[in-house]
């Protein structure tokens, strides 16, 4: 704990230090999105190929997410959805989760509520179905190509 002069500053230290985590996570995410926005993943050689795709030849649920993030960084939602709709939805969820995290940090209130289990079972089922379907012919709207 750094020594600060002034009782008010000392009282605030805890919450300020706690704020470093969500703000740091946001900074890391912004740098990452900025990098993917600047270095185009549509061009070969900029990023490694998905290990799962390289080994099996099948798309994984994350395939196309770099190009989706690149499109989002350029404000192109439709292209992002075409590359990986799951990444777009997950990005929205992560944004909401981050806001709730920030709120818990600022107010000091612990988490009081967990989503009902069927929601998470649904998410898991949806991801597994997405994984399979995007590899099937006729489901090109789910494939990253």
């Amino acid at each position: 704990m750094p020594v600060l002069s002034g009782s008010a500053a000392t009282a605030l230290t805890g919450s300020r230090r706690a704020l470093l985590r969500p703000l740091g996570a946001a900074a890391v995410a912004l740098v990452g999105v900025g990098y993917v926005g600047a270095v185009d993943p549509n061009l070969a050689g900029h990023y490694p190929t998905c290990p799962f795709l390289a080994i099996t030849g099948w798309y994984c649920p994350g395939c196309g997410s770099l190009r989706a993030i690149h499109a989002l960084a350029h404000g192109d939602l439709m292209t992002a959805l075409a590359r990986n709709p799951f990444a777009v939805v997950a990005g929205a969820y992560i944004l909401v989760a981050w806001v709730l995290w920030l709120d818990r940090t600022v107010t000091g209130r612990p988490r009081r509520w967990l989503a009902p289990p069927w929601v998470l079972y649904g998410v898991l089922t949806a991801i597994l179905m997405f994984w399979v379907l995007r590899n099937l012919p006729g489901w090109t709207w789910l494939s990253p190509a």
């Binding site: 998905c50 997410s65 289990p117």
Partner: protein
């Protein structure tokens, strides 16, 4: 006001407001990390992490506090392993680029990652 006879007895007090399961602060389920892992490589670890995230919620909702905490620890472990695996792949790729091997098999037109 209403004419339904005598006032019905008040309902029994709810065990908690909202969740029928355990009370207090639920353990974190690390679902964000699990989903990040699933999107950015390390796929088996990501799916496993989501399974344990789900177990945190289901066990907590059944009042199984110890089980929920155990699942939370496992979800966190898988997230950390996934991060380590990601770092290893990134370092290997960096080495491949530095050594000049990088472009030999990534010229597939698009990088699907």
């Amino acid at each position: 006001m209403s004419d339904y006879g005598s006032t019905p007895p008040p309902p029994p007090p709810l065990p908690s407001y909202g969740i029928p399961g355990a009370q207090g602060t639920p353990p974190p389920n690390y679902l964000v990390w699990a989903i990040l892992t699933t999107i950015f490589c390390c796929l088996p670890l990501g799916i496993a992490s989501i399974v344990f995230s789900t177990q945190v919620n289901s066990k907590w909702s059944l009042g199984d506090i110890a089980g929920a905490q155990d699942a939370s620890v496992k979800a966190k472990k898988f997230a950390i392993w996934a991060a380590i695996a990601w770092a290893i792949i990134a370092v290997l790729y960096g080495i491949a680029i530095a050594v000049g091997l990088a472009n030999f098999n990534f010229n597939t037109g698009t990088s699907s990652y």
